[in-house]
Amino acid sequence: MNTNQTVTVSEKLLFERSTKNRVGVSFPPLDVPEKKPHGSLLRKNLDLPELSEPDVVRHYTRLSHWNFSIDQNFYPLGSCTMKYNPKINEWGARHEAFSLLHPNAPEDSVQGALELMWELQEMLKELSGMDGVTLLPLAGAQGEFTGLKLIRAFHENNKQTRNKILIPDTAHGTNPATCTLAGFEVLKIPTTGEGLLSIEHIQKSLSHDVAALMVTNPNTLGYWEENLKEIADLLHKNGSLVYCDGANFNAFVGLAKMRDCGVDVMHINLHKTFSTPHGGGGPGSGPVAFIKKLEPFQPTPIIKKESEKFSLDWNKSQSIGALSTFYGNFGMLIRAYIYMKTLGIEGLKHMSHMAVLNANYIRARLKKYYDLPFPRKFCLHETIFSDKKQTPYGVTTLDIAKRLLDFGYHPPTIYFPLVVKGALMIEPTESESKQTLDDFCDTMIHIAGEAQKNPQLLKKAPYNTRVRRVDEVRAARNPILTYKLSSTAEE
């Protein structure tokens, strides 16, 4: 059933494959006299595995077979935008004119890299409608931190102490975590029965303490925040700002500019909307777009362009400072740049249109079989179901998710957003064809049937994966975080 299943060869750990005195690399002979540090500085034990090159190749090739991935599987993970990662992007990132470029090289020798970054900034400015963009944040979470620091700097510059951030109860976990890191207090805003933010709720929460509203649009229920402009006006009147978590940008690229909704600052996840590969959990990239008022506070360095010459400005007196050693995850920037250039504005619009079409198609096909919480007529790029219809049979969202693995599908995001009990959050993205969606929906319907007729089958799923259901309780009660080597003195 599952295409992932290769003959399940057991693959030991590197350390278990290791054989004393085996080597996997060769170096030219040392052309200067050999020197070693003296005495207590010299390393006594170095416990690394000893393998030949073919050992290493076989090891990692086998491990690769045990992963689900976009190139093999449909991956409808809500909020994660698991779209196809074009191969030409990879070619660009590996181009030696960029991959061998040292970050400390003189400015006149890195003009191509700076020009690429500048152009990428311009494109992101245009799509967000903002006045400035920084590419420095290394991930979405660091983008959030940057945005909140800009907001803090802005208020401090106005001699105001504002310590509260309003966050809807549908928000990603990073939002409140980032607030803490940036020294803010979180004020949770409830979502209405319609799955939206309400003007009244916001109004009630406003005070002179409120620094900003941190909103995700469309929200994590997959709905456009229809009142956002009015809400933003309220915040602005209160002297507060509006931050947008751009996790769901894929729903509206080329269809709306966040600036027009009253947003003052937003981060954009290049690894979601602009197709840079997730890499099994990173690296990501989280550029931040902002309005003119926040420009003086942006992190350094800043790319400047003067008569076709690019340079880096490291000294800005009001800047929030440094976020990392260099200039962001440059390799990710190349990939996103190529993607945007390849699609152009019409391609980007089509991308968002098809992403929304796909989500609504799944919604239409599955709504008879799975409960639809916060029901509205249409959703945007993702649709959220719950396990309410399966609960009477003792079947949970987790069971449904695990059963999907048996059919070669990566499960949707589960148990998020928190406002939906037993949430199944499905984001198909524009990459998937009608055939793929039909097959997936057929499988989901099949599983809904299994849940009624044979719930026990689901409780023990999956059956066809590399390993069966994993004992996470055991892992947490008695953490084994490294392989224990029997260490022997070497010299």
């Binding site: 809500g78 995001t413 309780v473």
Partner: protein
Amino acid sequence: MEIPEDLLYTEQHEWAHVEEKIVTVGITDFAQSQLGDIVYLDLPKEGTEVSAEDTFGVVESVKAVSDLYAPVSGRVVDVNTSLADSPSLVNDDPYNEGWMIKIQMDSAGNPELKHLLASSAYEELVEGQESSEDGMEKELAGDEDE
């Protein structure tokens, strides 16, 4: 769902057993069943001062975390150290072997005790929560990234 009659309860699902000035504290059967398999507890050291309704520790399952609230004010005079190695005791035997701390109150007639729920009132609270969507207040995982 077991709710012993001789105990007092908080709205956050701690139980309290009062014996003179000493109050033994743990979490209820309902609480442990909502959390699932408990993997870790963060409990205060002996001698720590705690205040009624403030958090005194944390209980964790694989994907949920819940704060622990002190039913009364006082000084922690004993901690159940066996929970460090066997957190599952809280699941298996929440009212006996799964006890967490003992608090010594200033006086036996502590007025704070009047704010705690009797078993019948707690039972009503639990029934209400079982049928509603919220359940007990805990932070549960959603797997998504930025």
